[in-house]
Structure formats: C-alpha cells, structure tokens
C-alpha cells in the first residue's frame, strides 16, 4: 500500500509542510494550487503516513477568536521520502523561497 509513487502535487505539499506551511490554506497560498487539489493530497499523504496531523491548542485559537486549526507535519518516513525525491528533483527545492511562519 505504501509504495504508491509520490505525485508532483504530493511532493509540493510535502515540501510546503517541510518548510513550515502547516495548515491547508497556508499550503494553498504558497503552492498556488486550488483547494480541490491540496486537501485530497493531504489526505493521501496522511493515509500513507508521510504526514500526520494534530490540533492547534484551544487557547491560541480562542485568543485569536477563530476555530482551531489542524496542523500537519512530516513523519520520519515523510522526511525520508522528501529527501529522496529532492535528491532526484533538485530543482524542486528552488521553487519556494524559504519563509518563516507562525
């Protein structure tokens, strides 16, 4: 089940998460891909355990007066896959300028 090859979308999303874009909309913004692509990609990556998700702390959300976000981060496996893919697609790394977030 695991050996489904990483698609380009998947790679973009993985990259974005690795660079700290941790929730859906943020990933959309940085990859400029539509919501109908980003979310399904996140689901698939989660299903094959390349990313995991967790919830934002209640306090933080309440302080900003919004529902809590779902944050994604790479698993060890995800990092390995990303590294392997980056090795193969050198250019991918240059697609996104590094940027710090919340």
């Amino acid at each position: 089940m695991v050996d489904s090859p990483l698609s380009f979308t998947g790679l973009f999303v993985l990259q974005a998460v690795a660079q700290g874009h941790r929730f859906g909309f943020d990933i959309m913004e940085v990859t400029e891909l539509p919501s109908g692509t980003i979310y399904p990609a996140l689901r698939r990556l989660e299903a094959v355990r390349l990313v995991t998700s967790g919830w934002e702390k209640d306090d933080t959300a309440r302080k900003e007066g919004r529902p809590r976000r779902r944050y994604y981060e790479l698993t060890a496996d995800g990092r390995r896959q990303l590294a392997a893919a980056e090795a193969r697609y050198r250019a991918v790394g240059r697609l996104f300028p590094r940027r710090s977030t919340t």
Binding site: T37, Y39, P67
Partner: protein, 905 residues
C-alpha cells in the same frame, strides 16, 4: 450559506472522521474569509467535495485492504480476463460459437414453453385472476363436461358474489360478406361483459354494453378482430359503424379487438368476430332446425370464464359455486354433477413437468455437449498457463483467487455467448412464430432463465479445469520443478469425449427415427397424384337454408364447378371421407342379417356419381354409380371391408337395410341415441320414428380403399344421396393436365351459385396432407438440426482435444520418428486413441437412443419401431466425422521434424 453547504458535503465524508473534517474546514474557511473575503471562501469551498470524496475512497480502500474478502479487486479479474480473451481470439471464438449455439437452442425451447404455459393469452390482462367454470359429472374418476343451459349461466353470474364478473362464450362459424367477398370466419357468441371480464381494451370503437345482451335480436352489433379489420377495411376508422353481413344478417361493427387477441381458448383458428349472445338466432337452431334464442335453446356447450374479486381464492369461488349446484338446471337432477373451478391457462402447466423436462432434454443435451467443448478448450488453455499460476501462488495468491480468475473468464465468455445465443434464438423463434397462434417473445422470464443457465454453464465448464490446474500448479510449486503441462492420458478427457460422442449419436439417431416415422406416415396414402385432387369445404348452415334449398344449392354447384377450366371430374361428398374426420353420417347401422336385432355399425358417405372417378379408385367387382342411381333407385356401393366382413365377399346384387339414428339434438351428439325404423318391424328396439330413416338398399359395386392408413379400412357404404340433409359438404375436383384451374375460378363459381356462401377451405390433397404432418415435420427437422449441430460441436471438440494432446506429445512424436516409426503408424496411433472414447460413447448413445425411441413410440401414435438402418447410418456418419476431425491433427503430429525435436534437448 457556506456552513450549510459544508454540512451537506460533510455527508460524503465517512462518519468516523466527519466531526474532525468539519472542524478543520470551518477553521480554514474562517481564515480565508478573514484574509481574502467571502468570494475567496466560496471558491475555497469548491474543493471541499473533492476532499470529502478522497476521504471516502481512502476509507473504502482501507477497509477492503483490511479484510481482503473473497471478491476483493474483482475488477482486476475482469480486466485480466478481457485481456486474456482478446489475446487468444481463436480460443475465445471457439468457445463463444459452441456455447452460443447451445444456449440458443435452450433459450428458444424455453421461450416456446414460456409462451405455451406461462405467458398466457395475448392481451388478456391479469390472467391469474381469471377462473374457468365447467359443469360436469364425476364418473370413474373422470370428469366429463355436461352441456349448460344459458339460464344456468345467468344464475351463476347473478349469484357468484366472489366474482367480479362472469362471462359466457360459445364458439361458432360465421359466413361473413363484406363487399363482394364471402368469408368463413371463426367467431363466438359472447355475453356482453366478455371483454370487460378479460379486461381487453378495444383497439378501435367500443365493446358491447349490457343493453345489447338483454333482449333477443334487437341489437345487431358485432366486434371484429384486427385481422378482419385489416383484411376487409384496411384499418380504416370508417369501418366502425359500418354494416357487415354476418350469416345473412346486417350487423353494425362497433369495435375492433387488439391485434394479438385470440380469445382465451387455444385453437388452430382463433375467433375473429364476436356477436352478443342475444343475437344467437344467427347460429343456434332448435331441434326442428329453427333459429333459437340462446335462453330457450336448451343445454349448450358454453364456456364460462369469471374474474375473481381481489383477495378471493379459487377455492372460495369453488366453494360458493358448489353451494349453487342445487339451483342449476343442469346439475340439480344429477347427484354426481358438480361445478369445477380452475384457473385459466393457455396450457395448464400442472402435471406437465415431465413433458416439459422431456421437451427441454434435447436442447439441454446440446448445451451439455457445448459445455464439454468449452471445458476441453478451457482445460487446454489453463494447462498451458500453469507456469503463470505457479508464479502467482508463489507470490501469495490463494487458490481461490486463481479459481476466481478462471470463473470470471468463464462467466464473461458465457455472457457473450448468451448475447449471441439470444439473437440466434430470436431469429429462430421468428420463423416458428409464423406457424403459431401466440407470440413467443424473449421476455424477462426467458432472460432470467438464460442467465441462470449461463451461470450454471460457466461454473460447469470452468470449475473442473480451474481446480485441476491449481492443484497441478500447487504440486509443481512444492516440487519446485517438475513435469510441464498436462498429462497425455487423462481419464477426465476420455470421459468428456465419450460423453460428447454418446449425446451426439443419441440426437442423430432420434432425428433419423423421426424422419423414418414421417416416411411411414406418408406411406398410408391410397390415392394417386394427390396434387391434382382439389378438396373444398362448403358450409351453407349459417344461411339457414331449408333442406330442399340446400340440396338444390349443391346440385347447382356441382353443375357449375364442372365447367371450371382445368377440372376433369367433380363430385360432392359428405365431409371427412379423405381427410379423416367422419361427420354425422358416421353413426349409421346396417342390417345384413334380419335375425340380428342390433345392426352392425358402418360408416356411410353420401356421394355424387362421379366420386370414384374423381378420387381415382377402382370399382371392382360391379360398377360405380351412374346418372340413374338417384335416391329412389336405392343403389349403394360398399368398400372391400364391408363386402368381406358383412357380406361374406359376395357383395354385388345383395340387399340389406340401412338405418340412421335420430337427428342428434341441436347441440352435439349425446349418448343414448335412438335408431329410428320408420315403423319397419324388422328393427326392434327403435322406439320413436321422429327423425332419420331406414331404407333397403342394393349393392351395385365394391370399391377399393380410399381412407388413409395402413390398418383395415372400416366398413363403408357409399350412398348416391344423403340419408339426412347435410348443410356442410366437400367438393372434390380432379384436375386435368392443362393446369388452368385456379382458386379464384372456384370462388367465382361458388359466388355465381350463391354469393352469400363462403368457401371454408380450398386446397389440394397434397397440401392438406402436408399441413397435417407439419408439426411432426417441424419436430423432425428440429431433431435432425440439433443432431447435426451436436455432431458439429462434438467434432469441433474432438479436433481441439486431439490437437491439444498432439501438442503435448510433440517430443514423443519426434523421438518415435527418430527411432524409425513410420508416419502412417503415427497417424494410425493417434486416430486409434482418439476414436476409442468415441466408439464407446457411440455404443452408449445408441443404447440411450434405442430406449428413447421406445419411450417416444409408447407416447406418440404411429412412430415406427427402432430402426437398425437409421441407427447404423447415424453411427457410421458420426464415426466418419470424428475420424476426419482427429485426422488433421494426427497428420500434423506425423510431420514433426525429429531433428529439431532432438536438438531442443
């Protein structure tokens, strides 16, 4: 708004993760709304559905992955099967052709049964709700129908509260004149609610209303069939309301029945027009021959059909009807009389299961042969792919998985074959339908049956090979390496080939048996050149002519038809002499010995003088009739049997007395008829001289056999004038060699004499004979066709088996040749091995066919005994075909190049 949409889309998300999913999306949407505004949030939401569906798919995949299940990844099987079949077009086509032919036969036979037993009468709505009521008498465990007065029908109709309606009908033949064309039309007198009870909608106009059935002779209306509408009025709407002469009376056409409607009785000539029962004077006669109103006509052969109220069982109707027994004229006086209530069927399937199975046996046998073929092909193919299976098993496939793959392939093949088979069946049925009164569509029941057969077929022909091959693959897996492919000698294969040979020989022999029977039937003909003898039936009964006028009509008709060009001799004869149904004249007695009080039963035919010349039989000794032999002269001619058995061979010049029973009551012949003596004391036991007569006659000649058959002809006496007036007679015309006679000329001749009289039937004797055997001939043709089909299938099967075995023995052949075996010896060896199962099968098949032949003979009149020549011929044919089928691959085997084979090692 967005929240609502989100809630709706959330329904797609698997319930387990739904709350989390909604929370995540509301957060995301809030974020977008805050930073980019509502429009962007809306755009964002458009991705939610894709997201939800992804979750669902992942969830489903996970579940399947977790359980696996016996049908996991079934689509893979199908794709794999399709690819495999496309890669082996020869194999695919072979199986499909075999199975399609087998399935076509089975589906066609089932459609026939379906139409005959289950579909019911065309156009009748909800036939299950209908019941047939019959008044009858129970005696010796046999139910015999008794005639029903119309009044009893009315009593039943008014008192059976368990019925929604009860209708009565009575068949009759009508003479119809529309334009200048007199026609004899089968029809019925019906109660006004007849069509209502059957729930038939009119195709045009209306059906009868109750008023039209209340008072005798006041409502001259008629409903015609679609066929009459087409034939007489070319479906013009103006036909409704126009007038048609029926039995001489002008009737208004009020409605037309739907095209397929044939009434609710199975008949060769279904009803084409319907008249209200109150108009019964058109056809009914009382004892004195006067037109009769149906209510006062006495007991009649009436058919009663009712429709049950919803939720009322047949048994309840039966119980209520039994309670009415005492109030009916027909049943009251007779303690054994009762009223039977049964469902309405085209043919009652109850108790017919055996016959139906027997009928299905032959097509199913052909299908079995096709299955064996398919199994052989599957087997050969599966064995070749054993190494594939070994790999699959090695990487963890289960045995079931492999069996499933083969099954999938088989079902796919069967479905394709069924599609082709149904097309072939439809085509075949369309040919048969032309000779059948009811349509035989491929309806849901037929389709379902075919589908069931397909599944059984697929399992039958694939499971064996699949299991066999997987066990072989498993065995090979454990041995790591081993003998490749299939065994050269396989008991299964031997048995399969044997089975095929047996079934195809059985079918061939049965076909041959039927053919012999047909030939034997044709042999009973005693009349030469039947193609130049024209027989026409005429019936003036509908015209209500007085006997004198009737006699006059026939005398004039005889004069007139003699003048038709192409006619050599003409005669008018009472019905049934040649065509076999003996009319009312049949119940005559002859007293050749005055000391015997009860005369001998003989058959009397009234004939005009030229009859023997027209028929073409010899009168010897003595003479035939001449013009002087009128009724007064009392001269008769007897047949050889009469002369031998009743006159001790000394016939010419002998005097005897001929008597007749009283004219039977208006409706049918009842038991206990009286012989009327006209007061002649020599005939005791003849109480009432009310009708009929007895005369002393002199024999002037003895004539050869005329009636068809191989047994003894019954004693027949030919009289120059009828003993009683017969409104219906046959005209015999012997044609000359000029071939100028035409049916139109005959119709014109009849019209010249009386334009109201229709010709009921007009055909040469050859045609009549042919039509009579049509059913048997069709059966014969079907059996022969199926036999040949089975032979072709079996030959194809043997060919593929032998080819396969030869391909397995490639090396062996090479070695044999290298060691010095002759090519002829190789061919002979393979032929011998191929024909061994065939011959054993032939033996079994012949035995089975002999048994079947004996059974058929016991059930079917006039079948010849099991015929060794037919069997020998069939066996020889089969062995020859089978030898030819295996010769080709045998020759291929003998052509193996030993050098190449040895080099491969």
């Amino acid at each position: 708004m967005t929240r609502c949409l989100l809630a709706v889309i959330a329904l797609v998300v698997p319930a387990m993760v739904r709350p989390r999913w909604r929370e995540e999306w509301s957060a995301e949407l809030a974020e977008v709304r805050r930073t980019r505004g509502h429009l962007a949030a809306g755009r964002m939401l458009s991705g939610a559905l894709a997201d939800a569906r992804t979750l669902r798919t992942l969830d489903a995949a996970q579940r399947k992955g977790a359980r696996g299940g016996p049908f996991a990844a079934f689509d893979h099987d199908i794709r794999y099967a399709v690819r495999g079949l496309l890669q082996a077009p020869g194999f695919t086509a072979g199986i499909i052709v075999s199975l399609a032919l087998g399935l076509a036969g089975t589906a066609a036979a089932f459609s026939f049964l379906n139409a005959a037993f289950y579909r019911g009468f065309p156009e009748v709505v909800d036939q299950r709700g209908l019941v047939r009521l019959t008044l009858g008498r129970e005696s010796y465990q046999k139910f015999s129908t008794i005639a029903t007065p119309y009044r009893d029908y009315l009593t039943l109709r008014d008192n059976l509260t368990t019925l929604e309606g009860l209708a009565a009908y009575r068949d009759a033949t009508f003479a119809v004149v529309a334009g200048d064309q007199p026609l004899s039309v089968q029809g019925a007198l019906v109660s006004s609610n007849y069509f209502r009870v059957l729930r038939i909608p009119p195709a045009a106009g209306r059906f009868f209303i109750d008023d039209e059935d209340r008072t005798p002779d006041t409502h001259p209306v008629v409903v015609i069939s679609d066929m009459l509408w087409e034939r007489l009025f070319h479906r013009s709407p103006s036909a409704i309301g126009s007038v048609m002469l029926v039995n001489g009376a002008p009737l208004h056409i009020v409605g037309v029945t739907p095209p397929a409607f044939i009434g609710i009785r199975r008949a060769e000539n279904p009803a084409r027009l319907w008249v209200p029962a109150a108009m019964s004077a058109l056809t009914l006669r009382d004892r004195d021959g006067h037109p009769a109103a149906i209510v006062s006509a006495g007991p009649l052969w009436l058919d009663l059909v009712g429709r049950r109220l919803a939720n009322v069982s047949v048994e309840r109707v039966q119980a209520q009807a039994a309670g009415l027994r005492g109030s009916l004229d027909a049943t009251r006086p007779d303690p054994r009389a009762r009223i039977s209530v049964i469902g309405v069927w085209l043919n009652n399937p109850e108790g017919m299961e055996g016959e139906m199975l027997a009928f299905m046996a032959i097509p199913l046998l052909v299908l079995a042969i096709a299955c064996v073929n398919a199994a052989n092909l599957m087997f050969a193919r599966a064995v070749r792919s054993v190494s594939d299976w070994v790999v699959r098993l090695a990487v963890g496939a289960t045995r079931w998985r492999i069996v499933r793959q083969v099954l999938t392939e088989a079902i796919l093949l069967s479905l394709l074959s069924a599609a082709f088979g149904l097309l072939i069946a439809r085509w075949g049925l369309s040919i048969v339908e032309r000779q059948m009164p009811v349509p035989m569509p491929i309806d849901a029941r037929v389709a379902l049956f075919t589908l069931a057969v397909v599944v059984i077929t697929a399992v039958t022909f694939s499971l064996g090979p699949a299991w066999n091959v997987t066990s072989r693959a498993t065995a090979r897996l454990s041995r790591v390496s081993g003998g490749a492919a299939g065994r050269v000698r396989s008991r299964t294969r031997f048995a399969l080939v044997m089975l095929q040979a047996a079934s195809s020989l059985g079918l061939l022999a049965t076909g041959a048996q039927f053919t012999r029977t047909i030939q034997a039937r044709a042999a009973g003909e005693h009349i030469s050149s039947p193609e130049t003898l024209v027989i026409a039936s005429i019936n003036v009964d509908p015209l209500r002519l007085a006997p004198e006028a009737g006699e006059h009509f026939y005398a004039r008709l005889l004069e007139r038809v003699r003048q038709i060009p192409g006619v050599k001799t003409a005669a008018v004869v009472s019905n049934g002499l040649i065509t076999g149904t003996v009319g009312r004249d049949g119940a005559t007695r002859a007293w050749t010995d005055p000391s015997v009080s009860d005369g001998a039963p003989v058959t009397a035919f009234s004939v005009t003088p030229d009859v023997f010349a027209a028929v073409g039989v010899q009168v010897k000794p003595g003479r035939g009739f001449d013009a002087g032999d009128t009724a007064a002269a009392r001269a008769v001619v007897v047949n050889a049997t009469f002369a031998k058995t009743l006159l001790n061979g000394q016939a010419v010049g002998r005097l005897f007395r001929l008597g007749r029973p009283a004219a039977p009551p208006a409706d049918g012949i009842e038991p206990g008829m009286v012989i009327v003596s006209n007061g002649v004391p020599a005939f005791p036991g003849a109480p009432k001289p009310s009708a009929g007569n007895a005369v002393d006659v002199t024999v002037v000649g003895v004539v050869d056999r005329i009636m068809k058959g191989t047994g003894e002809e019954p004693p027949i006496v030919y009289c120059p004038s009828p003993l009683v007036y017969q409104p219906s007679r046959s005209v015999y015309l012997r044609l000359d060699d000029t071939r100028t006679f035409s049916a139109a000329a005959f119709h014109a001749a009849v019209r010249d004499v009386d334009a109201r009289v229709p010709v009921v039937e007009l055909a040469t004797l050859a045609d009549i004979r042919m039509r009579k055997d049509e059913e048997l001939k069709m059966l014969t043709r079907a059996a022969a066709l199926l036999g040949i089909l089975a032979l072709a299938l079996a030959a194809g099967g043997l060919y593929s088996v032998v080819s396969y075995v030869v391909s397995l023995r490639w090396r062996e052949m090479g070695i044999r040749l290298a060691l010095g075996a002759g090519r002829g010896a190789i061919v002979a060896m393979i032929l011998k091995q191929a024909l061994a199962p065939t011959s054993i099968g032939a033996g079994i098949g012949a035995a089975a066919a002999a048994i079947a032949g004996t059974v058929i003979r016991s059930r079917m009149y006039g079948t010849t005994p099991v015929d060794p020549a037919a069997f020998g011929g069939a066996t020889l044919l089969m062995v020859a075909v089978m030898a030819a089928a295996s010769w080709w691959p045998a020759r291929q085997a003998a052509r193996v190049d030993p050098v190449r084979v040895l080099r491969q090692d």
